[in-house]
C-alpha cells in the first residue's frame, strides 16, 4: 500500500470501531431495567397489606364463613395493583382446605411466585380461625 493511502485505511478503521461501539449501545439499551420490576419481597408485602386491609372490618372472615368466594376474589382483584395475578387458598384450624373452587384471577404465567400467609378470625358468635395462603405473581 502506498504511504499516501495509509490515512484513509485508518479512517475506515475508525468508522468500523464507531459502528461496533454503537451497535453495542443498541443491544445494551434493550436490556431489562431492574428498577421497573416489582421485587419478590415487595410483592409478598403488598399481598399481606391487602389481606390486612380487607380484614379491618371483618369482611374477609365474613366472606369465608358465608362461603362467598366470588366476593373474596372480586375484592382482592380490585385492591391488588394492576398486573398482579393471585391464587388464594383458605384452610380451617386443622389445615383442611375450605374452598372447593379455585379463587384466582387467572393462571400464573410467571415462574416467580411468592406467597403471603395470613391468619384471621371470624367475628360472629361462633369462633372460627382461618389460615389464608395468597400466592402472587406479576403478569408477564
Amino acid at each position: 500500500m502506498k504511504n499516501a493511502d495509509r490515512g484513509q485505511i485508518r479512517i475506515i478503521e475508525a468508522f468500523l470501531a464507531v459502528l461496533v461501539i454503537f451497535s453495542a449501545f443498541a443491544v445494551s439499551a434493550n436490556l431489562p431495567t431492574p428498577r421497573a420490576t416489582i421485587k419478590r419481597e415487595r410483592l409478598a408485602s403488598i399481598g399481606l397489606h391487602v389481606l390486612m386491609k380487607l380484614d379491618e372490618d371483618g369482611s374477609l372472615s365474613k366472606h369465608i364463613t358465608n362461603q362467598n368466594f366470588t366476593a373474596l376474589r372480586e375484592s382482592l382483584g380490585l385492591v391488588l395493583p394492576a398486573g398482579v395475578c393471585f391464587n388464594l387458598t383458605v384452610y380451617d384450624e386443622q389445615m383442611r382446605q375450605i374452598n372447593a373452587d379455585v379463587i384466582s384471577n387467572g393462571g400464573f404465567s410467571s415462574q416467580d411466585v411468592v406467597f403471603a400467609e395470613y391468619v384471621c378470625a371470624s367475628q360472629n358468635a361462633t369462633f372460627h380461625c382461618y389460615v389464608i395462603r395468597l400466592f402472587l405473581a406479576v403478569t408477564t
Binding site: N3, A4, D5, R6, G7, Q8, R10, I11, E13, A14, F15, A17, V18, I21, A24, F25, S28, A29, L31, T33, P34, R35, K39, R42, S45, I46, H49, V50, M52, K53, L54, E56, D57, S59, H63, T70, A71, E74, S75, G77, L78, V79, P81, A82
Partner: protein, 355 residues
C-alpha cells in the same frame, strides 16, 4: 503537512471521541446493575420512609385541621387512628393544590427532614366512574339527556351499586341503580321551564365491599349555551368539616349547598359569611364514602353549580419523576389507605440523588 498526517489525525480524533462516548454511555447504562447491592439498601430505606409517611401522625398532630399551620414533621395518619394506614381527611385534603388551605411541596419536603429524599404522593379512588353524555332528546316541555355510566379499574368492569344525584335550577333528585356489568345507560329528564347549569353526581360502591367507593361528576348545560368549568363563580375549599365558599365572581347569589354520600345527603347550614366568602358546616357522616359538596346559586339570572370532594381526591403532590432524564433512581410503593372508612389507592414515589 502531508495528506496522510491529516487523515491520521482525523482518524485518531474520531477514535478518542468514540471511546469517550462509549465510557459515558456504558456508565449510564450499567449504573443500575453495578449498584444493585446499593440499590437494594436504598429500596429498603425508601420503603421504610413510605410507611413512615402513612403511619406517622406528624407534628403538630392536628396540622390538617389548622388552616394557618404547616406541619413541623410530616405524617398523614389520623391522630387517633384505629387501624393502620388510616389517614386524616384534612391532612389529605390539604395536599390538593386546588384547596385554598393547601400546603406546598416545599413545606412538606422541609417537614420530612430528609434532605436527600424527594417524594411524590398520589391518592385516588380504587376504581374510576366514567360518565359520557351519549344523546339529547328535546321535547316541547322537557329535555331528556341520555348518559352512559361505566365503573372500571384499568379497563376491567367493576360490579357496583350506584346512587346518583341530579341538580338543576329549582330541582334536585336522587336515584339508585345496580350495575352488575359495570355499565348502564340512564336518562335524566329536565323541564324546559328552567335553564342554566345542571349537574349529575354519581357515587358508586363495589357490590362486594362497602368500603370500596368511587365517584364521578358530569356538569352540563340545560337550555343554555354557556358551559363554564368549575371554580368560575365560587371556589370551594373544605377543611375541618367546614366548607369555605370563596367568591370568584362578586355578582353571585348563593342558593343551596348539599353534602352527598352514598347513603345520605344533607342540606348545609351557613354558619358565617361576608361579601367575599361564606362558611357552611359539613356533617360527620358515618358511612364509608367520600362526601361530595355541591353548591348552587345564581350569577345575575343564570343558575350555576359548583362542586368539590371531601377528602379532595384524586390528588398528586411532590417531585416530578416522570422525566426520563431525572437524575434519580425512583422507587414506587403502592398501598391501600383508609379515609373516613373508605378505601383509596395510594402510591408513594421516592427518589434521591444518585450515589
Amino acid at each position: 503537512m502531508p495528506a496522510v498526517s491529516v487523515d491520521t489525525f482525523f482518524a485518531c480524533s474520531l477514535m478518542v471521541i468514540a471511546v469517550l462516548a462509549a465510557m459515558a454511555g456504558a456508565s449510564k447504562l450499567l449504573y443500575p446493575y453495578v449498584n444493585s447491592a446499593n440499590g437494594q439498601n436504598s429500596g429498603q430505606r425508601y420503603e421504610e420512609i413510605s410507611r413512615y409517611l402513612l403511619l406517622n401522625i406528624g407534628k403538630p398532630t392536628n396540622w390538617g385541621q389548622n388552616s394557618q399551620e404547616a406541619p413541623e414533621t410530616f405524617g398523614l395518619a389520623k391522630s387517633d387512628f384505629g387501624v393502620p394506614y388510616e389517614l386524616d381527611v384534612d391532612k389529605v385534603t390539604r395536599l390538593n393544590a386546588e384547596n385554598m388551605y393547601s400546603v406546598n411541596y416545599a413545606e412538606l419536603y422541609s417537614s420530612l427532614k430528609l434532605s436527600d429524599v424527594s417524594f411524590r404522593l398520589e391518592i385516588r379512588p380504587v376504581f374510576q366512574v366514567i360518565i359520557n353524555l351519549t344523546a339529547t332528546f328535546s321535547f316541547t316541555n322537557e329535555t331528556t339527556y341520555q348518559f352512559e355510566i361505566l365503573t372500571e379499574k384499568q379497563g376491567r368492569a367493576v360490579r357496583t351499586k350506584l346512587t346518583y344525584y341530579v341538580f338543576a335550577e329549582n330541582y334536585m333528585d336522587i336515584f339508585s341503580l345496580d350495575m352488575p356489568l359495570g355499565r348502564a345507560n340512564q336518562n335524566v329528564t329536565l323541564s324546559n321551564s328552567v335553564h342554566g347549569h345542571a349537574l349529575l353526581t354519581v357515587l358508586a360502591r363495589s357490590s362486594y365491599d362497602t368500603r370500596i367507593v368511587s365517584f364521578g361528576v358530569y356538569a352540563f348545560s340545560h337550555n343554555s349555551a354557556h358551559q363554564e368549568s368549575t371554580d368560575t363563580f365560587v371556589k370551594l375549599s373544605p377543611l375541618n368539616h367546614v366548607l369555605n365558599a370563596s367568591f370568584v365572581n362578586f355578582e353571585v347569589n348563593l342558593s343551596r349547598v348539599y353534602a352527598l354520600t352514598f347513603d345520605h345527603y344533607s342540606r348545609l347550614a351557613q354558619i358565617a359569611g361576608n361579601n367575599e366568602s361564606a362558611l357552611y358546616e359539613i356533617p360527620h357522616f358515618l358511612d364509608p364514602s367520600p362526601t361530595i359538596l355541591v353548591l348552587t346559586g345564581w350569577n345575575n339570572s343564570n343558575f350555576f353549580t359548583e362542586w368539590v370532594a371531601y377528602p379532595q381526591v384524586p390528588l398528586q403532590i411532590g417531585a416530578d419523576f416522570a422525566n426520563a432524564a431525572s437524575l434519580s433512581n425512583v422507587f414506587s410503593y403502592a398501598y391501600e389507605v383508609t379515609v373516613n372508612w373508605a378505601i383509596y389507592d395510594c402510591t408513594v414515589l421516592l427518589g434521591g440523588p444518585r450515589d
